[in-house]
């Protein structure tokens, strides 16, 4: 187990730079999730940490040791791949034992370790099977077992749950989280699914186009998004962004209503975006922020999502599941000032 540090990491393919100076400190035993849309560089970062690709510039440290010029096997890491990547011609046991191949452990200890890992992952009975006889979830468990058996300093997970069906994904998510609590090792987990990121991470790293957008706990990135990209990416359904402009201290929404929000800094121009999450935007006739016509209803049980056509375009709000408005109704929607996020319209940076 060890901490991990990335210092101004860049990666270029030919003349195209895909990572533009990634810096991050991960402390010992932390569960860090890299999340972002495809092509944002999250997998590339992981492959750089693993040593499967060479860094163009910058430093990678694992356990206070610079590993830039070390082979993957010398970095004391283990990786779990999206496609499982278990060796199809070997039994489950041999697959797991493969991680120990190069270790100098006595044979009896190796055997004990394999049994221990199989026990933790609940697959003692599957040890003699071939991968083709296993289900998707079991195969991914084998891959995790092969990674675990070596007791590496850092675990790297490259979208390991993407190939599983929804139910299994939820289950494996929980299993990996439990595993982390039990083993306590440092984990870097890459995913494009923000729900996975929110539910599993100690800290989330949100990436876009080779830049880190924000690093923070799930609660921080949800409640205090650093910019409009993070605001839209985290949370489902995503945050409504309403165009508005500044007039003195007040913010005027398109459609005329004014809201009062204390800003930490002033925007570069007059235009701002006011963000509000659907679950903070509720029918409110007393102190409405915006109003419009209901176009679609999405009942979810406890609450109903309502799509409302307003002067600022279509937005999503939430209504009580028992007495939702009807399609065609005009609704007034309000939100507490503490639930409004203000972003600079030009740069997208948060101002609250």
């Amino acid at each position: 187990m060890a901490n991990l540090a990335l210092r101004s990491l860049t990666k270029s393919y030919g003349s195209t730079e895909v990572l533009h100076g990634i810096s991050l400190d991960v402390s010992d035993g932390e569960f860090v999730v890299f999340v972002g849309p495809s092509g944002c560089g999250k997998s590339t970062t992981l492959r750089l940490i693993a040593g499967l690709e060479e860094t163009t510039s910058g430093i990678i440290e694992i356990g206070d040791r610079e590993v830039n010029n070390l082979e993957p096997k010398e970095r004391d890491i283990a990786m779990v791949f999206q496609n499982y990547a278990i060796y199809p011609h070997m039994s489950v046991k041999k697959n797991i034992a493969f991680g120990l191949r190069s270790s100098k452990m006595p044979k009896a200890d190796k055997e004990k370790r394999i049994q221990e890992v199989a026990g933790i992952l609940d697959m003692t009975e599957l040890l003699d099977r071939k991968p083709s006889q296993l289900s998707g979830g079991q195969r991914q468990r084998v891959a995790i077992g092969r990674a675990m058996v070596r007791d590496p300093a850092v675990f790297l997970f490259d979208e390991p749950l993407s190939n599983l069906d929804a139910q299994l994904r939820t289950q494996m998510r929980l299993e990996i989280k439990r595993l982390h609590q039990r083993v306590g090792s440092t984990i870097i987990f890459v995913t494009h699914d923000q729900v996975e990121a929110m539910t599993m991470a100690d800290r989330i790293v949100i990436m876009k186009d080779g830049h880190i957008q924000q690093v923070g706990t799930p609660s921080e990135v949800y409640h205090k998004p650093a910019n409009t990209f993070v605001a839209r990416f985290i949370g489902a359904p995503s945050m409504n962004l309403l165009p508005a402009s500044m007039s003195g201290e007040m913010i005027c929404l398109t459609g005329g209503r004014q809201v009062e929000v204390t800003l930490k800094e002033l925007p570069s121009g007059k235009d701002v975006l006011v963000g509000v999450r659907p679950d903070d935007l509720l029918p409110d006739d007393v102190n409405p922020v915006i109003s419009g016509k209901v176009t679609v209803l999405e009942p979810l049980g406890p609450e109903t999502l309502i799509y409302v056509e307003t002067a600022s375009g279509e937005i999503i709000a939430e209504a009580d599941g028992r007495s939702p408005p009807r399609v065609g109704d005009t609704v007034n929607l309000g939100a507490g000032p503490e639930h409004l996020h203000v972003f600079d319209a030009k740069t997208g940076e948060a101002l609250t």
Binding site: L52, M79, N83, Y84, H89, R101, S102, P131, R146
Partner: protein
């Protein structure tokens, strides 16, 4: 007419065509084998008749087996075929792995260059090859044949195998790298077992032409002690008189080892071991 009935008719028709084709393909082999068990007179009188108590004779096999060199020919053919296949598969797979796995300058050109040999028959270069073999002193050795057959088989082997190796998941190879395997071990322990069906295909494709070849043994290795089976059988074919019993018996015997090799390889062909490796 029900759909099931129609399907059954289709099945019968398909099988009928296949059976007919099999009969046509196997007919010459069948004729060779039945005639090898007949007297010379019976071969000419009724070539398509089965041997019966009157016409049955092992004279052909006796002639072949009594001619002491026959086992030597057999052995030579076997050595040449197996060694050539071994080198074709080894070097072909290695080249294919390099082409499929590594990004380097001229990768595509190298692939095209290696594939060029598929289109150009090696026999065009016979004179040059003979000169080369004379200069290197390899004439009348089995090595001359093994080298030529390896060269002949490599282009197709590289072409087929590199296509298959591209399909082996990158994640699998990377997993091997993280588990501390060297590139050689990744090649031998991960990739080769996964492309085994393709290797078997290449082996079968190359085996028959090598085993049956008359051209290169005749030119490069006609000496008595390095004669192959096909060349050895020619002693029974004279300019004026041909010992048909012996020729047919020799050919019948020559089928056996090829069949054995084919059975070994085709078992690998059928095995779909990659299933379940990656989803």
């Amino acid at each position: 007419m029900s759909i099931a009935r129609q399907n059954r008719l289709n099945t019968y028709a398909a099988h009928g065509v296949l059976i007919l084709y099999t009969l046509i393909a196997l007919f010459p082999v069948f004729v060779i084998i039945i005639n090898s068990f007949k007297t010379r007179r019976a071969i000419f009188r009724e070539p398509l008749a089965m041997p019966n108590s009157e016409t049955f004779s092992l004279i052909g096999y006796e002639t072949v087996l009594n001619q002491g060199d026959f086992f030597l020919y057999f052995q030579n053919s076997m050595i040449v075929t197996v060694a050539s296949l071994f080198f074709i598969l080894l070097f072909g797979a290695m080249a294919a792995f390099a082409l499929a796995e590594y990004r380097f300058k001229g990768n595509l050109m190298m692939g095209l260059y290696l594939a060029l040999g598929i289109m150009i028959p090696i026999r065009i270069g016979t004179v040059a090859i003979l000169e080369l073999m004379v200069q290197t002193g390899l004439v009348n050795t089995l090595w001359a044949l093994i080298l030529v057959y390896t060269a002949q088989g490599l282009p197709l082997a590289v072409f087929i195998l590199s296509e298959f190796m591209r399909q082996v998941s990158d994640d699998l190879k990377n997993a091997g790298r993280i588990d501390g395997l060297s590139e050689y071990r990744i090649f031998f322990r991960l990739v080769l077992p996964l492309v085994r069906p393709a290797m078997a295909t290449v082996a079968v494709f190359n085996m028959i032409p090598i085993w049956n070849d008359l051209w290169f043994p005749l030119i490069l290795a006609p000496a008595e002690e390095v004669k192959t089976l096909t060349l050895g059988s020619q002693v029974f074919i004279g300019q004026f008189v041909t010992d048909w019993n012996a020729v047919l018996s020799a050919l019948s015997l020559a089928i056996l080892p090829v069949m054995a090799l084919y059975v070994i390889f085709s078992r690998q062909l059928i095995r779909g071991i990659t299933s379940g490796a990656v989803k």
